[in-house]
């Protein structure tokens, strides 16, 4: 698959997502209308019949804070999608926003291990690298292995080829500096799952689609009503934005 085709697939899945969920675009228009009503002064009556201007709120959140090279981020995105692929159950990691989630997380103090003990010496396999260092080295290594074995960037490979490469990383056979490829893969997998199932305020789990797939109700205030229920009770998920 060429890079362009892959991008098309990516965009295609986004379009499907918008189409399938059916509420994102509508929801934004409603939001604009509510905003207009609230801003109207009491007792004010529109004096003309000018068409009302509605604002579609664009999403400016999907840009890079941590990664700097396009091919690094594309390798990351492709790897997350292999770990958590789109299927008949619903969206995959890319559709859920996991790659941008990971980028944002690595730009936080957590990505720099700010609260961890990072004082030398590092012995017995402990790594001196920060999480950001590990992820950056790892995604570059993924492309390096991909170039060496297939003479192409990772995101352009077939799914089987991608799986085989990630299995090598998971198995620890890829040589990395100051960290094992197993540790890198574990971090990549953990961050991917976080990006699929985190509260949507972090930039992943878009529209709570990850939670919906898992029938996880999210940040509910109470489950006392179903604590002794005899059957499964499906609840529509709520996010932390409901707590504001």
């Amino acid at each position: 698959m060429s890079e362009t085709e892959n991008k098309q697939t990516h965009n295609q899945s986004r379009r499907n997502f918008l189409k399938n969920s059916g509420l994102t675009v509508g929801g934004l228009i409603v939001g604009g209308a509510i905003g207009r009503i609230i801003s109207m002064k009491p007792n004010s009556t529109p004096t003309t019949t000018q068409p009302v201007e509605t604002h579609q709120m664009a999403n400016y959140n999907e840009a890079l804070q941590f990664f700097t090279r396009k091919e690094d981020f594309e390798a990351l995105a492709a790897a997350t999608e292999v770990i958590f692929p789109e299927d008949e159950n619903g969206l995959g990691a890319i559709g859920l926003g996991a790659p941008y989630y990971i980028d944002k997380q690595l730009a936080t103090p957590w990505g720099r291990n700010a609260d961890d003990y990072m004082i030398r010496p590092f012995k017995n396999g402990q790594t001196p690298l920060t999480r950001g260092d590990i992820m950056l080295q790892g995604v570059r290594k993924i492309n390096e292995v991909s170039q060496k074995t297939h003479n192409a960037l990772f995101n352009t490979l077939s799914e089987e080829e991608q799986v085989a490469i990630l299995q090598e990383f998971e198995g620890g056979t890829v040589e990395m500096a100051y960290v094992s490829s197993t540790s890198f893969f574990a971090l990549l997998r953990q961050l991917t799952l976080e990006g699929c199932y985190c509260d949507p305020m972090y930039g992943g789990n878009k529209n709570m689609e990850g939670w919906k797939m898992k029938e996880w109700p999210g940040a509910q205030m109470s489950h006392a009503d179903v604590a002794d229920a005899s059957d499964f009770v499906k609840k529509e998920p709520k996010s932390l934005s409901d707590h504001m």
Binding site: D87, D116, L166, Y197, H223, V226, H243
Partner: protein
């Protein structure tokens, strides 16, 4: 040069459960208490946005930062000890309330046997039952002596539970009834009863109903919200120093809480503690706080380290077996977990609390015959419903890859009881 402060009756090093209880009880008795905590102040207002798996259980928002100092670990004396690097794996309470703000709140009592484990084991099985290098010993106090204090703690914390049938008779019932029973607990109850064991609902500090404790503090009713063991409870429905003993101490007007205050030495005259030396962690300023009584109420290894640094007592030497400081420490218990995967049943696993479930204690203490066994004591078997937070609970049947197509497909038809 440290600035010397006016003398107080009592100073506690840390203000979690232990420091909070000492502060409440001694201020009520008329003493002036200063609580020093190296972390930050917090109260119920800080608990409102804790329904967040990433921030709390995974990143460890409520845990002590390891930025400047950590704890080292080794498995044998021949190994070099290495520091714990990742804050989220150390899981040590931070700030006012300490671990008591994010505990699972399971509150069993120890058995009479536990307090006299050495003498009771020898009495029943003979001297040879205890291997030469096993350091178990009697506590020096008995269950009967401690029972009134267990009772007092349970009343202060409002513990919800039903009696463990294997315990000696309680002086008083639990102050609040046990939590609700869900399907998983009923299954466990039925199965263990059939096997001849004695299941009971786990006693817990997440309360089954609104409760006012003897100090007048209200603890609210648990909402089974699923964000408990690593989270703060925004309802104030979990027994937590922040909603119980700390406000009790503060109401007396005799408690002064100082945060960002890290104790670096216990001062003493060779026979008795005279106060502490502490540092303001923001400015670096040093203070001397003289006190009649110094109580070490921080995390177990911080207490031990402080004693060692202050040259109090004889350090434990594991080779010679001499000394006491650092010997036989108690930290968090270990657990072994197994999961049941059902393809014909679906549970409300998202409903959970920190310690919701049923247990049998028939295999703990000396409640079963150890004559032909090469160990003493045992463990509790329990069915705990700890929630299925989606990031941490992607459990798949054995043999399934932990990622990829098969992985993604499996959680949707398999449900879990843990």
């Amino acid at each position: 040069m440290a600035q010397k402060l006016p003398k107080v009756d009592v100073v506690t090093v840390g203000v979690g459960w232990f420091g909070g209880i000492v502060a409440a009880e001694l201020t009520k008795a008329g003493f002036n208490v200063v609580g020093l905590d190296k972390g930050k102040e917090k109260n119920l207002k800080d608990y409102m946005h804790t329904h967040d798996e990433v921030r709390y259980p995974i990143r460890g928002e409520g845990y002590q930062k390891l930025t400047k100092e950590s704890y080292t670990v080794r498995n044998t004396l021949n190994q070099e000890a290495y520091p714990i690097r990742d804050k989220a794996t150390a899981v040590i309470g931070e700030g006012v309330g300490g671990g008591g703000s994010h505990w699972g709140a399971q509150t069993h009592r120890y058995y009479p046997y536990d307090f006299e484990i050495r003498s009771k084991t020898i009495e029943k099985y003979g001297e040879n039952k205890i291997p030469e290098n096993m350091t178990i010993q009697d506590w020096g106090i008995t269950y009967d002596e401690l029972e009134p204090y267990y009772d007092k703690f349970e009343k202060m914390a409002g513990i919800s539970g039903e009696p463990d049938p294997n315990y000696p008779e309680r002086t008083n019932p639990y102050p609040t009834p046990p939590l609700k029973k869900n399907i998983q607990m009923l299954m466990f109850e039925e199965a263990t009863k059939k096997m001849g064991y004695k299941p009971f609902t786990i006693p817990t500090g997440t309360l089954s109903e609104v409760y006012k404790n003897p100090d007048g503090e209200t603890i609210n009713a648990c909402q089974y919200c699923g964000f408990c063991g690593s989270n703060y409870c925004e309802y104030g429905a979990k027994a937590d120093p922040v909603v119980t003993v700390i406000p009790t101490a503060q109401k007396t007007g005799k408690f002064e809480l100082r945060t960002h205050a890290k104790v670096t030495r216990v001062l003493h005259d060779g026979t008795k503690a005279t106060g502490v030396l502490y540092q303001d962690t923001i400015t670096g300023e040093e203070f001397e706080q003289p006190a009649d009584i110094v109580v070490l109420t921080s995390y177990v290894f911080n207490n031990v380290r402080l004693l060692l640094l202050s040259q109090i007592g004889k350090p434990y030497n594991p080779q010679s077996g001499t000394g006491i400081i650092g010997k036989n420490f108690t930290d968090h218990h270990g657990v072994t977990i197994s999961y049941g995967l059902y393809d014909d049943k679906k549970f409300n696993n998202y409903v959970s609390t920190g310690a919701w479930g049923m247990a049998i204690t028939d295999f703990t203490g000396d409640l079963f015959d150890h004559s032909n066994l090469n160990f003493v004591h045992g463990g509790q078997i329990e069915c705990r419903i700890t929630g299925n937070d989606p990031i941490s609970n992607s459990i798949t049947p054995p043999g399934t890859s932990s990622w990829g197509k098969e992985f993604k497909n499996s959680p949707f038809f398999i449900t879990i009881v843990s």
